[in-house]
């Protein structure tokens, strides 16, 4: 199982969980399992073509998966995935 950390703004779609776990050999498989289990997350994370939204950054062990292989990036059980959406608050 790979642990995927969710930002606060997405937790309501995952039963208020901070972190969800899923299995898969690629990031795409892990994401698919997560959005299947928590359907509310699908449109927040994935575009209609199944790719990651451009406004959602996903980091595998601290590195943006855009610079790896995106959803095709191989993933291991001990890897840490962080989902990070843009936030603008400052006042």
């Amino acid at each position: 199982m790979t642990a995927v950390r969710l930002p606060p703004v997405l937790r309501q779609h995952a039963g208020d969980a901070k972190q969800v776990e899923a299995s898969g050999s690629t990031l795409g498989e892990v994401m698919t399992e997560i959005v299947t289990r928590h359907p509310g997350l699908r449109e927040q994370l994935l575009a209609s073509d199944g790719e990651l939204h451009r406004f959602v950054n996903v980091y595998l062990n601290g590195l943006d998966v855009r610079y790896l292989n995106g959803l095709a990036t191989p993933i291991g059980e001990r890897d840490t995935v962080i989902v990070l959406p843009a936030m603008a608050g400052g006042s």
Partner: protein, 375 residues
């Protein structure tokens, strides 16, 4: 070779007597330490140069010599070197200039150091070699622009003013509201309804009247952003909307101005430093804004008051590092803080070669010039 080398360790009081009666005074520290202050009449000879330069400075081997350093170790080694070279009356000051200063004895700064360097307000900066008179002078020369005198801006404005940043510009069109005061500590209850720029300027000048505050009492827009940031060395982004963050980013890339970026949401914060063409820009990090329902502002989602406080202070920290040129700025690194967990995480950011703002081909003239200048 004499049987016993003539080296004594003396107290600052004994050193004072010897200096008064005409002993040669040698400071054996590094140049950056010397710049933070030295004894009157001393000659600087860094440790590595002692053997080579002492005879030029003190030709007479019979003349008494007093040597000091920061704490007494380097001066003792230098004193032994001198005795071995035949100097007959050499003394090392126990505890060095540190003890000398602690005893309240007089010292001075090298000539030509800025006036700010003698201001006791900055004493805690001046004693550190990483800041010192030179760094304090850089702070006094610095021009920093804050976008927003709100949650992020409040602590940052206070600490940059306290640090002695010479010119602080503030962009804000809003007025102080009671609901701001849960976190916007640069304002006060008796200023509700006052322009935030005026309120912040009041607080800043009460803390440090030396700071020149420039009040830009207007809303940052796509059409005025270039004019607003012109002339500032760096910008601190404490805005509250994606729109203003993208406008600011694009203008900062156009003018190659560094931006210290932070954003907050409820119990979490993000922080990074965008130095155009050296690291990624905001558009490299977030190419497109999320839909509004995914990114509510603080007024809708709420924010724990201390969260912008902490993030604003981390912004001020990065700004001071950039001005002084010390440490590793958060360029190409995103720090994310979870207040409830009490954890910081660091993510690696990279420049996007296809970035519409700073990528290859975008604003090529500015980017190429800079690339050529920094190559």
């Amino acid at each position: 070779m004499p049987d016993q080398l003539q080296v004594r360790e003396i107290t600052p009081a004994e050193a004072q007597q010897l200096i008064d009666s005409g002993a040669a005074l040698i400071d054996t520290r590094e140049v950056n330490e010397w710049k933070a202050g030295h004894l009157a009449g001393a000659t600087l000879i860094p440790p590595i140069e002692v053997a080579g330069r002492i005879e030029q400075v003190v030709p007479d081997h019979d003349k008494p010599v007093v040597i000091y350093c920061a704490a007494g170790a380097r001066s003792m080694r230098a004193a032994i070197q001198l005795a071995q070279m035949g100097y007959r009356d050499v003394s090392s000051v126990a505890g060095g200039i540190g003890r000398w200063k602690a005893e309240g004895r007089p010292w001075e700064l090298p000539s030509g150091t800025p006036a700010v360097a003698t201001n006791p307000r900055y004493a805690r900066h001046l004693v550190m070699p990483e800041v010192g008179p030179e760094g304090q002078g850089k702070l006094a020369q610095a021009k920093v622009l804050f976008i927003g005198a709100g949650g992020l801006g409040s602590p940052g404005l206070l600490y940059l003013a306290a640090a002695g940043v010479g010119t602080i510009g503030i962009v804000d069109f809003d007025v102080v509201d009671l609901s701001n005061l849960q976190r916007q500590v640069v304002h006060a209850e008796n200023r509700i309804g006052m322009k935030k720029t005026a309120s912040a300027a009041m607080t800043i000048n009460a803390l440090n009247p030396d700071v020149k505050v420039v009040q830009h009492d207007q809303m940052l827009t796509d059409s005025n952003v270039d004019t607003l940031i012109a002339g500032y060395d760096l910008v601190i982004d404490g805005t509250d909307t994606f729109e203003t963050r993208y406008w600011l980013n694009d203008a900062a890339v156009r003018s190659a101005t560094p931006v210290v970026h932070a954003s907050v949401f409820r119990f979490e914060g993000q922080l990074t430093v965008f130095v155009p063409f050296q690291g990624p820009c905001y558009r490299c990090l977030y190419p497109t804004p999320p839909p509004p329902e995914l990114a509510p502002g603080c007024s809708v989602a709420g924010v724990l008051g201390v969260v912008p406080g902490v993030m604003g202070l981390l912004q001020a920290t990065e700004a001071v590092k950039l001005i002084l040129g010390i440490g590793d700025p958060l360029v190409g690194r995103l720090l994310i803080w979870d207040a409830l967990d009490g954890t910081f995480d660091e993510l690696e950011l990279r420049r996007d070669p296809n970035c519409p703002a700073c990528g290859v081909g975008a604003h090529a003239s500015v980017g190429d010039e800079l690339a050529a200048a920094t190559a």
